[in-house]
Amino acid sequence: MKLSDLSLPELNRQLRQGFYFRTGAFVVNVKSAIPAVANGLSLMYADYPLADRAFADFHVTLTKPHHWRRYFRPQVFFRFEGTSPFSPLPLSQAFPMLEWGMNWCISSNAHSYLMIHAAVLEKNGRAAILAAPPGSGKSTLCAALMLRGWRLLSDELTLVRLTDGRIEPVPRPVSLKNASIAVIRDFDPLAIFSPVVRDTVKGTVAHLKPSSESVQRAVETATAAWIIFPQYVKESATVAVPVSAGRAMMRTADNSFNYGLLGQQGFAAMAALVSRCNCIDFRYSALNEAVQYFDHLPVPDPA
C-alpha cells in the first residue's frame, strides 16, 4: 500500500498517532499534527510504501510548543525519541525540518554504513557519487540528472555498505535552495516541488519530488563507478579533470559523516571504494551539457 492510497484526512489521522513509511533502507515513524507536515508528505511521498506499525528505525515528532510561542511567531520542535537535537524553528519550516531531521537520524546512527555527505545516482547499473560541500551546485546537478533518467539513491547521504561496498538507496525529496529552484523549474517545467520556504538558515528552500522509478527501485543496491567532485562556476565550460585515488580518498573522507568513527573498517571501505571508481573534478555552468557528460562517463577499468 502506498501513501497515495490514503485520503488526506486518513493521513492526518495516522500522523496524529504515528505514521509509518519506508524510505529505502529505513522505516520512519512520524507523529505530527502540523498541517504543513501532512501536506508535504502527501505531495512529496505519494509513491512511497507504507510500513508495518510494528517497528520503525527512527521515531520522530514535530510539534508546536505548549506555551505562548504556539501563537506568537509560532515554532516547531523536532524530537527524536524524546530528545531534541535541534533548536526550534519557525513553524513555516516544519517540512524542511522533517527532512533535515531524518537526515540527522540516519547520519548520527547508521554505523553499519560508511556515510558520505554526497548525492548518488545510478544508470545502467553503475552509480555516480557527487561529493561536494554546500554551495557547489551538487544538488542542482543531482536534480537535473534525476529528471533526465538517472535513478536517485540519495541527494545527501551516500550509504556504502561495510560488508560488500555496495550503495544502499535512501531516496528522498531533493533539497534545493535559492537560485537552484528556478533553474530546475526551467530545466523541467513538469517537476513537482513542495511549497517554497523562505528565511531558513540555508536561505530559500524547496524540495523536489523524487522520480517514481527512484522510489519503486529503492530496494536495489548499486555499485559505485565514479566519484565526482562537482563545482558550478558561472559561465564555465564543462571541464573534467581526473583526481588521483589517494587525493580522492582524503577529500571524500573529509566529506563523510562517520569515516573517523569507523576506524580501520572505515579506512578499508573508503580505500576499496575509491579504488573501484574513476575520480573526477568537474566544473560546469550549462546544466544540459553537464548531464550529457554524465551520460557518457567513461566506465572504469576493472580493478
Binding site: 588521483s244 589517494g246 580518498m249 582524503m250 573517523g260 575509491v274
Partner: protein
C-alpha cells in the same frame, strides 16, 4: 640505528597509484603519503632497517646510485614519518 613501523598490520597501508594512504590505528588518523614515504614504510613493514640498507634497497628500485643526497632525502622522510608517529627507532 634501525627504524621500524608502528603499524600493526599490512592492512593499514595501501598503495594508490603513485601515492599511499595509511591508517594509524592508535590515533585514528589517516595520512596521504607520496611515493618515497610510502615505499619506505612498505619496506619497513617487511623488516626493520637502518638508513643505509633502505638506501640500497630503494636506490635499486628508483634506479639511483646510493649517494649522500639520496641518504639525506631518506633521513628527512624518516624524521617526518616519526613526527607522525608512523615509525620509530627500533
Amino acid at each position: 640505528m634501525k627504524w621500524r613501523t608502528r603499524l600493526n598490520s599490512e592492512e593499514q597501508l595501501r598503495q594508490m597509484g603513485e601515492e599511499y594512504v595509511v591508517y594509524d590505528a592508535v590515533s585514528g588518523s589517516t595520512h596521504l603519503l607520496g611515493a618515497a614515504a610510502g615505499q619506505i614504510l612498505l619496506h619497513l613493514e617487511f623488516t626493520p632497517m637502518d638508513v643505509h640498507n633502505l638506501m640500497i634497497v630503494l636506490g635499486a628500485e628508483w634506479q639511483q646510485t646510493p649517494e649522500s643526497d639520496v641518504e639525506q632525502g631518506i633521513e628527512a622522510v624518516l624524521k617526518e614519518l616519526q613526527s607522525m608517529d608512523l615509525v620509530e627507532c627500533a
